[in-house]
Symmetry: C2
Subunit: 275 residues, 2 copies
């Protein structure tokens, strides 16, 4: 999937919602514990209920890796389920990997060959050769951390050399490694005021924006400062949607919450005459 | 294991060698392919042959993750084998993880509870809350990326604010998060000339130094510029040791190579009157 195809999907679905399947075992409805794979069963029902409102699902690998082998099975089953039943939807591995070139090749093989993710989040600290191997896959995406939504973003991401903050250098330098068709950037919704500066450096690239909802970011501001004439945004919501309910109709509660977010997104897309 | 205990092990073994079990399936001797778990069988024989020359083993997770579930089984079997048979040896997960606080907690659980690694490498880009959850485990270590051995290190790690380069800021700021008993730093051997500057900021912390051998770093220089009066160094060698041979006596070839490195290390330790 390239930049244009992603925009077409956004227009068709009238949504730029990415749903984060942060399906922590301790937080899924207790009645699911009898299922053979409770996490997959939870995900399957969430996906069936919400897929009409989203263009992407994001699986943060930590939530699966912490369950050992069982967790990797849940992760793979979920990915395969989306692939089979909802082929147009982008599936992101939120893995924040990154190592020396030779080693990154193996991570790329893990996520793009052994598993068929469309995109993976990567930490930029180790530079170009840690990212390159992922960009070698046609039709796949690297989503590079630029300005994250957490408090710790302040520790290093604003480190300022002659007016260029580190996250701005990451944006500027990394653009030479790929294109708007295979690179996106993570920019936290809690930093929405920075989107104006960020759009000066990456006017067209898609941004994956976490931090709406539980972390306090505002969709209104993100759309105002971050939206391009091809949308250019995937806004992620995890807990606020997937844990909207906790009883047997948790999937219905999630769908209602996803529909609300989608409706707000539709208004923003319409306001820019993109749909 | 704390700073003093690690130094005691170094003195007892007359070595500060960390052996990297970068056991790529395509590179292990072909005759092992009949084993039930060829990667584990390779590791087991390498460990049995080399454990007398090393104080630590490092398992880069990419080399296992790329084999899917089988790979995670090889990783866990190797870890458990070292734990059971060589209890004094430090085992490092070279995972370069790091996420927002809530999510890092789950990675910490994966590597420190579900698996019993002593230490994990972490990427610093997301700051304090991405590292804190790992430091909450008594007796475990965070090994934070500071100045890596690869070419891409030049892209961002030297970003310079008023004379402070990013890797120096990482060293300075992160020291407040933990102590020399639960934090180490990755400093590539290919950057040995920087060790003088680094020792001004972290005079006592252990440094994990990759890049000797295949990547071209010099043990001589690393010892000269990086060694403290408690050694303060774990120098990693991976391919040069584990792939020293490729026939049925590959383990003997690895042991010979490890013994050579250990002998050089012993000279450096003796030269500083540490043994």
């Amino acid at each position: 999937m390239n930049h244009s195809q992603l925009f077409e999907n956004i227009v068709a679905r009238r949504s730029f919602l990415c749903i984060g399947l942060d399906s922590e075992t301790g937080k899924i409805p207790p009645f699911l514990s009898d299922a053979e794979d409770p996490v997959f069963e939870f995900n399957r029902r969430i996906i069936d209920a919400t897929s009409g409102f989203a263009v992407a699902y994001k699986l943060n690998v930590a939530f699966y890796e912490c369950n050992g082998l069982k967790g990797w099975i849940s992760l793979k089953s979920t990915l395969d389920y989306i692939r089979k039943n909802y082929p147009g939807i982008l599936v992101i591995a939120d893995a924040k990997r990154g190592d020396i070139g030779n080693t990154s090749k193996l991570y790329a093989r893990a996520f793009f060959e052994n598993m068929s993710f469309d995109a993976i989040t990567i930490a930029p600290y180790m530079g170009e050769d840690s990212v390159g191997p992922f960009l070698a896959y046609e039709g796949k995406w690297v989503i590079l951390l630029a300005l994250t939504s957490n408090k710790g973003a302040d520790d290093f991401q604003y480190h300022n050399e002659n007016g260029t903050r580190l996250f701005e250098r990451v944006l500027a330098v990394s653009q030479k490694w790929g294109s708007k068709d295979n690179m996106m950037y993570v920019v936290g919704a809690t930093r929405a005021e920075m989107l104006k500066d960020i759009r000066k450096i990456v006017p067209e690239h898609f941004l994956l924006v976490p931090g709406i909802g539980a972390q306090g970011g505002s969709l209104e501001e993100v759309a105002e400062f971050g939206m391009t004439n091809k949308c250019g945004l995937l806004v992620n919501s995890s807990r606020a949607i997937i844990f909207a309910g906790n009883s047997t109709d948790f999937d219905k509660a999630a769908a209602e919450k996803a529909a609300e977010v989608q409706a707000e997104m539709e208004r923003h897309l319409a306001g820019r005459n993109l749909i």
